[in-house]
Symmetry: C2
Subunit: 215 residues, 2 copies
């Protein structure tokens, strides 16, 4: 099961329409330094997340799964000036740890997870065209049935990819920009104290997946 | 004029009640390594923010003003294990730049700006008791009348203070944890492309202010 975003009450960026936008799967060709037409990218993703549970311990869990990302029409045709807006419309990653059991990460339907790809204001020096920066603000649900918990973040998780030379940035490593700790709340008691924290998140975007691999 | 938060639709952390919580002004004594009773801290603040406007330029603006922060009952009496939850209930900072004109920053009443003070999971090595980490997720309005714009952030601005040895951390320097750029949207068109970005934010918490200085 996946969690498409529907009528979210919290909107982390610019909404992007999926109307008439084609799904893209394995076999899609990606041209570097080129602004593509709008599409829904069905991509693999893996991640290594560290969770801290106060008084209990810190647990590092590898995750694997897929994301579906809708991309807007680029704001310009040439690479240098183009901005592309993105919404994460589906995510499903699973991981397992002895202590926390099996964990499934999906999108929080209360949130519109949104981002963009643009030339940064502090570009890295380098040869050739300027690489872009990709960022996405994400609201997720961490389902931990062994602990009887579904955890949500109330600050978005900021996922970033640097040195983007093609859209989508398949194969690129990325990072969750977590400063020391990101609070996670019990979905049943979101106004109570956080029950756990994400203290580190590193991910890698995979390539296009075959349609059969998207549940 | 200030902007108290009222019935926000976006809640970035744990709500903290202001019911029966006393306002604290100049003259309040602060004990290091001690967990204080709940209070509303009326504190000075200064900040240096850099704004990037695509295709126009980057502008660094110094701000000065005050914040009002309500603190919860600490979760423990001894310093080491105590967590304190905070809500930013009022903010007013003003700055001026030749190009952008006068800028006033207040809280976005659509957002509950929330944070906490706790011992981090990655404490700095040092002598004496462990210093705490302070974080606050903020939704703000940047009013720029010269440009006819009110800008809002849709991802919270994460303000952090490290090496916290007293509550409140008056006099401490802090940082906005902005990775490369934080999008700002026109409040009249929040679902459109961002119109500007914050690319850097450094601040310093001031001390308690006299009551007369809080508007």
């Amino acid at each position: 099961m996946s969690t498409p975003t529907q009528k979210p009450s919290v909107v982390y960026g610019r909404p992007v329409t999926t109307d008439g936008v084609p799904n893209l799967y394995s076999g899609t060709e990606v041209q570097p330094w080129t602004t593509p037409d709008p599409g829904i990218d069905n991509l693999g993703i893996s991640s290594i997340d560290t969770f801290a549970v106060p008084g209990v311990g810190e647990y590092t869990v590898p995750f694997d799964g897929y994301v579906r990302v809708v991309r807007s029409q680029p704001t310009a045709t040439e690479w240098a000036n183009a901005e592309v807006y993105t919404n994460l419309i589906e995510m499903r990653m699973t991981g397992e740890s002895e202590e926390l059991g099996r964990i499934t990460v999906t999108l929080n339907p209360e949130c519109l997870s949104a981002g963009q790809i643009r030339t940064p204001f502090d570009p890295y020096a380098g040869e050739g065209p300027a690489a872009k920066a990709c960022r996405m603000a994400v609201g997720a649900i961490f389902d931990m049935p062994k602990l009887g918990l579904q955890l949500i973040n109330k600050e978005p998780i900021i996922l970033t990819i640097d040195d983007v030379r093609q859209i989508p940035p398949a194969g690129s490593p990325g990072k969750g920009q977590i400063y020391r700790m990101l609070p996670l709340h019990d979905i049943r008691r979101p106004d109570d104290d956080p029950v756990a924290y994400v203290t580190s998140l590193r991910f890698t975007m995979g390539g296009y997946l075959p349609k059969e691999q998207i549940a």
